[in-house]
Structures are given as structure tokens and as C-alpha cells.
């Protein structure tokens, strides 16, 4: 398919710890297309952020390493790339915004300074005054009022939503092909979250970048993504386009996640029934069961799930582009 900018193939990321080696990401595959948004959902510890860091080449080594798999960016393999070349891509062609706008900006530099730093690194031909002009342009692009004044302010002078806008401005200042947004709105209030999501959609349309949106909020996914991958214990258990996933979830875990959100039903005057829950907890990565990782919490579990036939792998389900790793998928 045309317009594929990023391809992740069989990615395995391991961390060495005192209690043995754990696979935080275990055989993950997905593609990112130009102008499209891929959502990665999952609970804490499911490997979403580690996947993102692997793409950026930011896995701390030691203790972590990419044990297997390939990441192709515009056809070039990122895993085998020398560090000096990776540095030219990171922050330039693949940019990332983080969850905490409070901690990811340097408090002792002005925001203008921090935007210019990226431009200086990746576009060295620009003069100082051109860089400043570009920083102001970026602030204007992300909707910060009076950008020519704000450019000289420090992070503490801005609100949380404004800081996240600055983060986006930094990430977009080199016009990346891929933007990785790791929980970009989790720390923000809902009205500000709506502003930021709207802004990301608008900029995607203008600049045509592919976005990887990592989140635990299914609502955010439903509203912003084109395709979705659901992660559990380091593996993708289901992937589909957003309509299919929300209307016909096939994996019991996906269904369970959706049911555990209180539905927002303004017409219901009656006292509501209990929330559906997923019993138990996410298993420890040190102590994963044989077979399907979700077996102990699943209502549809059979002997096949307990490892007789090996781990379930992603197989095509009903509908085009719908994959599920389950022996007893829902219809």
C-alpha cells in the first residue's frame, strides 16, 4: 500500500532485571501510513510506551535491548542504523510528545530557546534570526496567543495545556513524517484535552504526517484514530480499523475494556446496573501463564487457551484488516 512511512515487524524488547529477563514487548507488528493515525491502547505495563521508545531508538541499554524484529522508516531499517545517523532522524523525521508537559520541558530555558534548539540541530543552515522567526511561527501554528511575547517566557509561566502545545510545537518544528504521541492528553482536563486533540487533527491534515497515538482512553481512540491495536502483556491481541473494533470487538479483553467504562446515557433515569468488570489483575511479566496471557481473566477460556496448541497468534477475523489473537473470538 502506498504511503507507508513506518513499519514495525516482530518487535521484541527485553529488559534484564535481577529476577531474570522480561519481554516488555513481544512480537509486535503494525504499520503507519501517511496522514493516518494508529492508536495503541492498553493498560499500564502492557508495553505501549516501550514500543514507542523502541521506534525512537531510546530504549536504555543496558538493561533493555531490542532482542528481535525490525523497524523500517521509509524503507530504511532503524534497528541496524548507526547512532549518528539515528540522531539525524530522531526529533527530525520521527518526533515524539510525552505525557507530562510539566516534566518534559526544561524549566531554566525559555520556550523559544527550546524550540530553537531543535531547529538548530536539524536545520543548521538557518541563521539565528531565522530560527527565532520559525519558533514564533510554530507557536502561532499550535494556537498560542501573542506568540512573539510568549517565545521569551519560561515553562512555569504557562498552563498545562499551553505547555503541551509547546511540546507539539517542538515536535513539529522539523515537519516530521511520523509523530509519536505518548498519552498526550492524560495529564490535561477534558476541555483542554478536546482542544489538543482537535489541534493534532488539524495539523495532521495540514502537514500530512502519520501519528502513533498511545493511550489508555478508549474514548480518545474512538474519536481520533483510523486503526487501533490493543495491547496486553506486551502483545497485540487485536487490531482493526476503528469502526470494526468498536462495533465488533472480537477479543474478550477488548470487549471487557469497553464494558468496564460506564456508558454515558443521558436518557436513563433508572438506577443503573453494576459495571461489567474484568476479574483479577494483569499478570506479572515475570510469571506469564502458558498459552494465552489473558486466560485467567477470560470468561470464554477453554483448554486450547492453556497452551496445548501454543500461544494464540494474530489471525484474520471477520472483515478486512481485522486481526485477533484468540482461540475463541467473539462474533
Amino acid at each position: 500500500m502506498a504511503g507507508k512511512v513506518l513499519e514495525v515487524k516482530d518487535l521484541v524488547v527485553e529488559f534484564r532485571t535481577d529476577r531474570g529477563t522480561v519481554k516488555a514487548v513481544n512480537g509486535v507488528n503494525f504499520d503507519v501510513f501517511k496522514g493516518k493515525t494508529v492508536g495503541i491502547v492498553g493498560e499500564s505495563g502492557s508495553g505501549k510506551s516501550v514500543t514507542a521508545l523502541a521506534i525512537m531508538g531510546l530504549i536504555p541499554n543496558p538493561p533493555g535491548r531490542i532482542a528481535n524484529g525490525k523497524i523500517f522508516f521509509n524503507g530504511k531499517s532503524l534497528v541496524d542504523m548507526p547512532a549518528s545517523e539515528m540522531r539525524k532522524i530522531r526529533g527530525n523525521k520521527i518526533a515524539m510528545i510525552f505525557q507530562e508537559p510539566m516534566t518534559s520541558l526544561n524549566p531554566v530555558f525559555t520556550i523559544g530557546n527550546q524550540i530553537e534548539e531543535v531547529i538548530e540541530l536539524h536545520q543548521p543552515h538557518l541563521s539565528r534570526s531565522q530560527r527565532t522567526a520559525k519558533a514564533i511561527d510554530m507557536l502561532r501554528l499550535v494556537g498560542i496567543p501573542s506568540p512573539d511575547k510568549r517565545v521569551n517566557e519560561y515553562p512555569h509561566q504557562l498552563s498545562g495545556g499551553m505547555r503541551q502545545r509547546v511540546m507539539i510545537a517542538i515536535a513539529l518544528s522539523c515537519e516530521p513524517d511520523v509523530l509519536i504521541a505518548d498519552e498526550p492528553t492524560t495529564a490535561l482536563d477534558v476541555t483542554i484535552q478536546a482542544q489538543i486533540l482537535e489541534l493534532m487533527k488539524k495539523l495532521q491534515k495540514e502537514l500530512g504526517m502519520g501519528i502513533i497515538l498511545i493511550t489508555h482512553d478508549l474514548g480518545v481512540v474512538a474519536e481520533t484514530c483510523d486503526t487501533v491495536a490493543v495491547m496486553y502483556c506486551g502483545q497485540i491481541v487485536e487490531s482493526a480499523d476503528v469502526d470494526t473494533l468498536f462495533n465488533h470487538p472480537a477479543h474478550p479483553y477488548t470487549k471487557g475494556l469497553m464494558d468496564s467504562i460506564p456508558s454515558f446515557d443521558s436518557t436513563s433515569g433508572h438506577k443503573k446496573e453494576r459495571l461489567q468488570t474484568i476479574e483479577g489483575m494483569v499478570p506479572s511479566l515475570f510469571d506469564l501463564p502458558n498459552g494465552c496471557n489473558f486466560q485467567d481473566r477470560c470468561s470464554k477460556v477453554t483448554d486450547a487457551c492453556r497452551g496445548i496448541n501454543g500461544d494464540p497468534v494474530l489471525k484474520p477475523s471477520k472483515g478486512e484488516g481485522h486481526y485477533v489473537a484468540c482461540y475463541n473470538p467473539l462474533n
Binding site: 476541555t191 478536546a194 482542544q195 489508555h216 456508558s263
Partner: protein, 324 residues
């Protein structure tokens, strides 16, 4: 005795802003401004609003963990605002709080048994080793934790289990009223549902009254009988839960609800995107505090602070141009 367990009248809390060479008072933040509400016995009042709107300050002021500046708190028919510390201690047995972060609110050096015993010790309940142990096991059973948890330390539990320990600790002194300050915000979705169900079961079995503070509007709608919306220290709207979600009168409430992303791809409703940020509470705008972000604002909104729509009635709001 009235049917209301707790009644808050015109509660205010102002924090001084110190500045200058000698730390003189140079201003004040009105964190909570003339808030009034009542909660019926066995019911839940939800309190929603964005960060910095004063919901946590309000929750803590009611327990007098933060001293309110003025107003009345009537608990079981008695105004507790001027109670002495000794009198207050007796009342506190009846009012407890559950905090947001189950990682920070449990002492890592105490076992779960010690954590549960401490409140009973302070209030002199269930004296005697066997009796106390029996009570602790009963508490663990109520929050669906295994009995062997007693000798473990908080770090051995997951976030959801820790929140259950916090709930058990609050229940240890048999309270009537619990302030739940964002009890599920730090938890994963699937665990969040377990804790919400637990809280509702406990309310039904023990007849508890809750003040449920959260920024997750969906959870609040689910658990609450009535919901109050706060903006910059003021309560801008209060109504029965279904009434508020179906027929919001205040533009801010409407915008807040429309900003929630729905976990469904069917029928995406039109979204109201509010311009700008929440103003600083140190220097709130004149008139209605919401007027700079409101699409319905008129001249009147910029000058006068809107009064509460009606003193009686279950649906009250502060707005000159309510949504029809």
C-alpha cells in the same frame, strides 16, 4: 432528625497570597466561594470540575482538614465549624476520607494489619487482641481482599488492591459519611470498574453517604444521585444526575460534557471546543467567572455575578442566559 446527613451552607475558603519583603498579605485566592448543598442519608453527591476549581479544597474543608474561612457545616443536625479539636475527634469517627493516590496514602513501613488497627486504636474501638483481629478480617472480607493480606506491606499490592486497603481503613471506624477524593483516577479502566462496584456495594450494605469528587464525568454520573459542577471556586450548577446530564442549563456544564470523548464510533455529537484556559483564581474575571470562554455571554455577564437560579427546587444554576 432531618433526612439530610450533611448540609453545607455558604462555605468559603480563602488562602492568603503572601508577598513583598516581610511576607505581607498582598491578596487572596477564593478557592471555595459560597458553596451550599445538602446530601441525603445513603446517597451520593458527585462533585466535578477541572483542576484548580476547588473541589478537593471543598472536600477537605467539610472534614475540617482545611479550616474553612466562613460558613456552616451541619453534620447530623449539628454545626461542626466551631467544634474544639476534642469534639471534632469524636465527629471524625463518623466522617472519613479516601484519597486519590493509593501509592502515597499508605505508610510503606506499616503492615496492612497495622494500617487497619491504627484508626481503631485512636478511637478506642474493638479493644482486645482477638476482637480487633476479628474486625480486621471482617474489613478485609468487605473489600474482597484475602485474609493473609494482614501481614503484608503496601508495596506487595497492586494499585487497585491498595485502594481497597484505603477503603478498608476508612471503614474501620464505622463512618456514616465518606469523602471520596478521586478514588479511581489513578487506576486502570478494568480495575476502576471493580473499585466503583465495590463502593456502590458498600454504600448499599452499610448505608453510607458519599461525597464523590472526580474529574471523570462518566464515573460520577454512574455513581451519583446528584451532581454539582464547580468552576473557579463557585458551584455553577447542581441537579439530579440524569437531569444534569440530559438537560444542562449552564454553558460550562454543557461544554464539559461535550468534551468527553465517547468510546463509540456511532453518532459523534457536535463538540463545543472552549477557547482559552481556566483563568487564574487569584484574579478571576469580573461578573460571571466563565464569561471570557462563554459563547452566550452578554453585557450583564461581564458586570454582575449571577445569583443561584432558585433557592428551592432540585435543579439550581448560576447563569443569566441558561441553555433552554
Amino acid at each position: 432528625m432531618s433526612e439530610y446527613l450533611i448540609e453545607v451552607k455558604d462555605l468559603c475558603k480563602t488562602f492568603p497570597i503572601k508577598g513583598g519583603l516581610f511576607g505581607r498579605e498582598v491578596g487572596a485566592v477564593k478557592a471555595v466561594n459560597n458553596v451550599s448543598f445538602k446530601i441525603k442519608k445513603g446517597e451520593t453527591l458527585g462533585l466535578v470540575g477541572e483542576s484548580g476549581c476547588g473541589k478537593t479544597t471543598l472536600g477537605r474543608s467539610i472534614l475540617r482538614l482545611i479550616e474553612p474561612s466562613s460558613g456552616e457545616i451541619i453534620f447530623n443536625g449539628q454545626n461542626i465549624v466551631n467544634y474544639s479539636p476534642a469534639e471534632m475527634r469524636a465527629v471524625r469517627r463518623k466522617m472519613q476520607i479516601i484519597f486519590q493516590d493509593p501509592y502515597a496514602s499508605l505508610n510503606p513501613r506499616m503492615t496492612v494489619g497495622d494500617i487497619l488497627a491504627e484508626p481503631m486504636e485512636i478511637h478506642g474501638l474493638h479493644i482486645g487482641k482477638d476482637q480487633r483481629k476479628a474486625r480486621m478480617l471482617e474489613l478485609l472480607n468487605q473489600v474482597q481482599l484475602p485474609a493473609d493480606a494482614l501481614n503484608k506491606y503496601p508495596h506487595e499490592f497492586s494499585g487497585g488492591q491498595r485502594q481497597r486497603i484505603c477503603i478498608a481503613r476508612a471503614l474501620a471506624v464505622e463512618p456514616e459519611f465518606i469523602v471520596c477524593d478521586e478514588p479511581v483516577s489513578a487506576l486502570d479502566v478494568s480495575v476502576q470498574a471493580q473499585v466503583v462496584n465495590l463502593l456502590m456495594d458498600l454504600q448499599r450494605d452499610l448505608g453510607l453517604t458519599f461525597l464523590f469528587i472526580a474529574h471523570d464525568l462518566k464515573v460520577v454520573e454512574y455513581i451519583s444521585n446528584k451532581v454539582a459542577v464547580m468552576y473557579l471556586g463557585n458551584m455553577v450548577e447542581i441537579a439530579e444526575s440524569s437531569e444534569l446530564y440530559g438537560h444542562a442549563k449552564h454553558p460550562y456544564t454543557k461544554a464539559l460534557f461535550s468534551a468527553i470523548p465517547h468510546a463509540s464510533t456511532k453518532g459523534r455529537a457536535g463538540r463545543i471546543i472552549l477557547e482559552g484556559d481556566i483563568p487564574s483564581p487569584m484574579n478571576p474575571p469580573a461578573g460571571c467567572h466563565f464569561n471570557p470562554r462563554c459563547w452566550n455571554a452578554t453585557e450583564e455577564c461581564r458586570v454582575n455575578f449571577p445569583p443561584i437560579s432558585s433557592q428551592s427546587g432540585t435543579h439550581q444554576y448560576r447563569c443569566y442566559n441558561p441553555i433552554k
